[in-house]
Structure formats: structure tokens, C-alpha cells
């Protein structure tokens, strides 16, 4: 499910994006203000976040936003790093950022950039979440897993580090800013999620790179979640970890290096517990019928021969209908098959809300016994 959680925020965001854009014109034609549209978008996004159906959902995500901050002396040779970025890419948009350090330039890689990206030595990288990394050796940024910058210790120490106490399970590197208790003004870590690059085999020097003494560093630990990757850990045995940093050693690595496809053929949206929930699209009790049902329950339906006593003799509530789960699947079906009481479901293109979380699939196969 990890891989699903990884792509889900993006998917939802793109859906929101598409919808908003496509109705922008309609809205303006109707004479509705842009503000309303923005409101709508924010409402939508906040609801998604609230529902907790998606992990790592950050509002206003800019995909593949990757801020490179260069020390002053590189300002002239700014072209240098851009050169290494594959020519096919647009030149990264470069904006001078008047930060407290003064002589720092930042630019962000455009969304369309394809990895791997090579970054020469001496470049200081700043992820959107505000983490600073100074690259001492040329670095290859590949589109890896959620580990933005793989090594926790690579981070320069900071005076006021706040660690996220528990490793968020979110596959996305960009742990949602709200959860980040970073001392530095948390710039949305949104971009991190999309950057997804690994800097393997890099030797990071732990020197503080932040020119401004005031701004604390947050270790990439917070940005990195590598739970299961030990290999990368081993790669940098000599990273110095400053004592006052309580490093997160478990990172949500999200194993994207060897992505296993969990949907499609391998999807196991097994329905053992779902029973008949699949059929139940939650379309119960539209208003018209509620009234009728209530009325019926109160009356007794008398007929000539046998009255159907309301509930006494012929109540069917023996079966404890453990039904009120919110687990639903909304999808299309290829085939639904039944033999006696064995059901087989061949589903496609759907979203499953299970245990409060959303899972999107292009193919789902299920079996159930009724």
C-alpha cells in the first residue's frame, strides 16, 4: 500500500487541479468571482486533509519543486549547475531570493525535470521545507523513493532541532508541514514529496550551511522517512551526528527503488470481510423512502388471510447486520460472478475507502463467500 499512498496525493491534487481549471471559465461566465473558486479549492483540499483518507496530502503542491540554494560565490557561476541539468529540460527558473543570508540564490527545478540530475560539488541545497544540505561531492539526484536526501546525518546540525517523534508512516517524503515541528518557519514541504530524489553515496558534511545563524536547521531526518532502508544508512557510516540532534533513524523509505506494483494483477483487495458491502454503494434510504419505511414499521399490514405482523413473528433481524461500515468501493466492473454462495469480483478503475483510507486501483480482484 505504500506505493499507493505515494501517488495518491498527487492524483487527488491533479483531480482537484483539473476540475478547478476546467470550471474556471464557467465560473467567470456566470459572473462568479475568482475568490469563490479559490475558496472552493481550499475547502476541497481541507476536506481531503481532514478526512485523513490520503496521506501526505499537502495543499498547493508544486510538483518537483526543488529549491537549490547556492552560496554567494556561486552566483557568477550559476550557469554551472544548470549546465549539468539535462539540456532537454527547461532552464530551471531562477529567482534571486532575498533571504536573511543575503547572498544566496535559490532556484527551483521545474516540474518537468527528469531525473537524474547531477549537482556538482559545493552546491548548497535547500529543500522547500527549509532543510539545508551542502553537497561536498558531486551528486546525482535520481528519482528515487521518498527519501529526499537520504542520510539523516547528512544534515547540518541545528541548534533547535525538533524531531518528529514518531516516524510518520506516510510514504511521502514531504511529511505534511503541520506535522513537522520544525523550528524554522515551515515552508511547505510540499515540494519535497514530489522531488523524490535520492542522493546516494554522498558524503555530506555536517557543517552548518545556513548563513543565518538564527535559522535553525531541521535535519533531513524530518524530511526523510526511511523506515526500512538500511543500505543507505550503511553507506554513510561516518556521518557525524551532533549530540543535540535526536536523529530519526527510522525513515519511511517507501522502497521506491524497487517498486513493487501492488495494484493490477497483484492487487489484493480481498473482500473477505466485505461480504456484501461491495454491492452496497451506500445508496440507502433516500429521503422518499425513509418516510415510507417508518410508516410501514409502525403499521401492521393486515390482509384477509394472514396478517404480516410487524416485527413480531416474521422479523428478519436475526442476522446481525454488521453493515454500517464506511468501507466502500466505487468502481467499474469487468465481471461479477457467483456460484452458489461463492462470489468472484473482477473490478476496474476504482477507489476504495477502507479503514478511512483511500486506495485507488485500476484493477481489483476479489473473492467472497456469502
Amino acid at each position: 500500500m505504500l506505493s499507493n499512498a505515494n501517488s495518491l496525493p498527487k492524483l487527488y491534487l491533479s483531480v482537484i487541479e483539473d476540475v478547478i481549471e476546467s470550471i474556471r471559465e464557467l465560473f467567470s461566465d456566470e459572473g462568479v468571482e475568482e475568490r469563490v473558486l479559490d475558496n472552493l479549492r481550499q475547502l476541497w483540499e481541507s476536506k481531503v486533509v481532514q478526512s485523513k483518507a490520503v496521506e501526505g496530502f499537502i495543499k498547493g503542491n508544486n510538483p518537483s519543486n526543488f529549491v537549490l540554494q547556492l552560496p554567494a560565490n556561486y552566483s557568477q557561476s550559476l550557469h554551472k549547475p544548470t549546465v549539468v541539468i539535462p539540456a532537454a529540460q527547461n532552464m530551471p527558473s531562477f529567482s534571486s531570493k532575498a533571504s536573511s543570508c543575503g547572498s544566496v540564490a535559490t532556484f527551483s527545478l521545474p516540474a518537468g525535470i527528469t531525473y537524474p540530475v547531477q549537482i556538482p560539488a559545493g552546491v548548497t541545497l535547500q529543500t522547500a521545507s527549509g532543510h539545508f544540505y551542502k553537497v561536498n561531492v558531486p551528486v546525482m539526484v535520481t528519482r528515487g523513493a521518498q527519501h529526499v536526501l537520504s542520510h539523516p546525518a547528512a544534515v547540518a546540525r541545528s541548534s533547535a532541532l525538533t524531531q518528529r517523534p514518531d516516524p510518520a508512516p506516510a510514504a511521502s517524503v514531504c511529511e505534511t508541514p503541520p506535522t513537522l515541528q520544525s523550528a524554522d518557519g515551515p515552508s511547505p514541504a510540499a515540494s519535497d514529496s514530489q522531488t523524490e530524489f535520492t542522493l546516494d553515496g554522498i558524503e555530506f558534511s555536517p557543517q552548518p550551511v545556513d548563513p543565518s545563524a538564527a535559522s535553525p536547521f531541521t535535519p533531513p531526518a524530518q524530511a526523510l522517512r526511511r523506515e526500512q532502508d538500511t543500505a543507505a544508512d550503511d553507506a554513510l557510516p561516518d556521518l557525524q551526528t551532533t549530540p543535540d540532534i535526536k536523529l530519526e533513524t527510522d525513515f519511511n523509505f517507501n522502497q521506491l527503488l524497487d517498486i513493487t506494483q501492488l495494484d493490477g494483477v497483484a492487487d489484493s483487495s480481498s473482500d473477505t470481510e466485505e461480504d456484501d458491502d461491495d454491492d452496497d454503494l451506500g445508496l440507502v434510504g433516500e429521503n422518499e423512502f425513509l418516510g415510507m419505511i417508518n410508516a410501514a414499521e409502525e403499521e401492521e399490514l393486515e390482509e384477509e388471510e394472514d396478517p404480516l405482523n410487524s416485527g413480531d413473528d416474521v422479523s428478519e433481524q436475526d442476522i446481525p447486520e454488521i453493515f454500517d461500515t464506511e468501507n466502500v468501493i466505487v468502481c467499474q466492473y469487468d465481471k461479477i460472478h457467483r456460484s452458489k454462495n461463492r462470489w468472484k469480483f473482477y473490478l476496474k478503475d476504482g477507489v476504495m475507502c477502507y479503514g478511512g483510507k483511500d486506495y485507488v486501483f485500476s484493477k481489483a480482484v476479489g473473492e467472497a463467500e456469502w
Partner: protein, 186 residues
């Protein structure tokens, strides 16, 4: 000699089919959407509703006619049918439970001996008929009971009739005939 009365035969009722009417039009789409455990078959024009207890399956037509299958006794059939009507009532239809009737009972019985079908058929023409190329069993129709017995050479028989009583009578009636034609090795 009539040995039939000495033998205790296990007649197992496997299926009881019954019908009843709700005396009101039923909106199949509504039932399909709101009912629990339903299968809507618009191509045929009916809804199947399955009940767990008793384990029955009902075919529901929009005219209000309902056929109930899968019960293992007449009482169970009636109980299941009423439960079903109650379900429909809960959905909101003004159902009445009327014209309940058991239309078919299917039972099986395992005789303790094998049977020589050809001999049996010869002895009981024209009531019995046997066409091995079509069906491996000989069928024996008891007109007055309106029941049919299918006799297999293994000694298994299936009996269908309009009610349990006729099925029981049919078994009693056919037993001696089969006993005569058993495949004893002597």
C-alpha cells in the same frame, strides 16, 4: 410380502419450492438498490433476494409474484417466505402475504441395494420409462400422486412431488417394485 414397512428409509428433503403473491406492484429497481442481499437481473426482469436464515433464494417479479426456493421443509418455506415479505415491506412496499403455496418438493433417498433398471422398466411399463442414451435413470410417474421418481442403478432415487406427503407416499409405493428388481448376486 411387503418388506417396505420394516425398513426405515432416510428420505432427505433437499428443496422445497413455494410461491406467494404480494398483491401489489413491486419496483424492482428500488428493491435492487435498497434491498440487502439482492441481485438485480434487469435482462430477465426479476430480482433475486437471498436470505441466510432460512437459507432461501427468492425470485421477485414486478407483478408481485414471488417464487421461493431452497427451503428444506414446508414450514421453513413458509417462514422464509414471510420473512421475505417482511423485507419487502420494510423497503416500503405495501405487501400482503397472500396465496402462499408449496409447489414442489424434491427429496432424495438412498436405497440399500442396487437396481436392475431394464428389468424394472419392463415390469412397470408404461408407468416407468428408461432411455439410457438420454438419461441414466429410469423415471417412474405416479399419476395419482402427481409425483415422479427417478431411479438410478446405484439405488439412489430422487422424488419430486407437490408436497412432502406425496413424496413420502411415492417412496413407499415404489419401494416394493424396486425391491423386486434389486441386483442381488444370487
Amino acid at each position: 410380502m411387503e418388506p417396505s414397512n420394516d425398513v426405515a428409509l432416510d428420505i432427505i428433503i433437499t428443496n422445497v419450492v413455494s410461491v406467494f403473491r404480494t398483491r401489489c406492484h413491486l419496483n424492482l429497481r428500488t428493491i435492487g438498490l435498497e434491498g440487502t442481499n439482492v441481485i438485480y437481473k434487469p435482462e430477465v426482469g426479476k430480482v433475486l433476494m437471498k436470505l441466510r436464515k432460512p437459507r432461501i433464494t427468492a425470485s421477485i417479479w414486478s407483478s408481485g409474484k414471488i417464487i421461493c426456493t431452497g427451503a428444506t421443509s414446508e414450514e421453513e418455506a413458509k417462514l422464509g417466505a414471510r420473512r421475505l415479505a417482511r423485507c419487502l415491506q420494510k423497503i416500503g412496499f405495501k405487501v400482503r402475504f397472500s396465496d402462499f403455496k408449496v409447489v414442489n418438493v424434491l427429496a432424495v433417498c438412498s436405497l440399500p441395494f442396487q437396481i436392475r433398471l431394464i428389468e424394472f422398466t419392463k415390469n412397470n411399463r408404461p408407468i416407468a420409462s428408461y432411455e439410457p442414451e438420454i438419461h441414466p435413470a429410469a423415471s417412474y410417474r405416479i399419476k395419482n400422486l402427481r409425483s415422479t421418481v427417478q431411479v438410478f442403478s446405484t439405488g439412489n432415487i430422487t422424488v419430486t412431488g407437490p408436497n412432502v406427503q406425496s413424496v413420502a407416499s411415492a417412496v413407499e409405493q415404489i419401494y416394493p417394485l424396486l425391491f423386486e428388481c434389486q441386483k442381488t448376486l444370487s
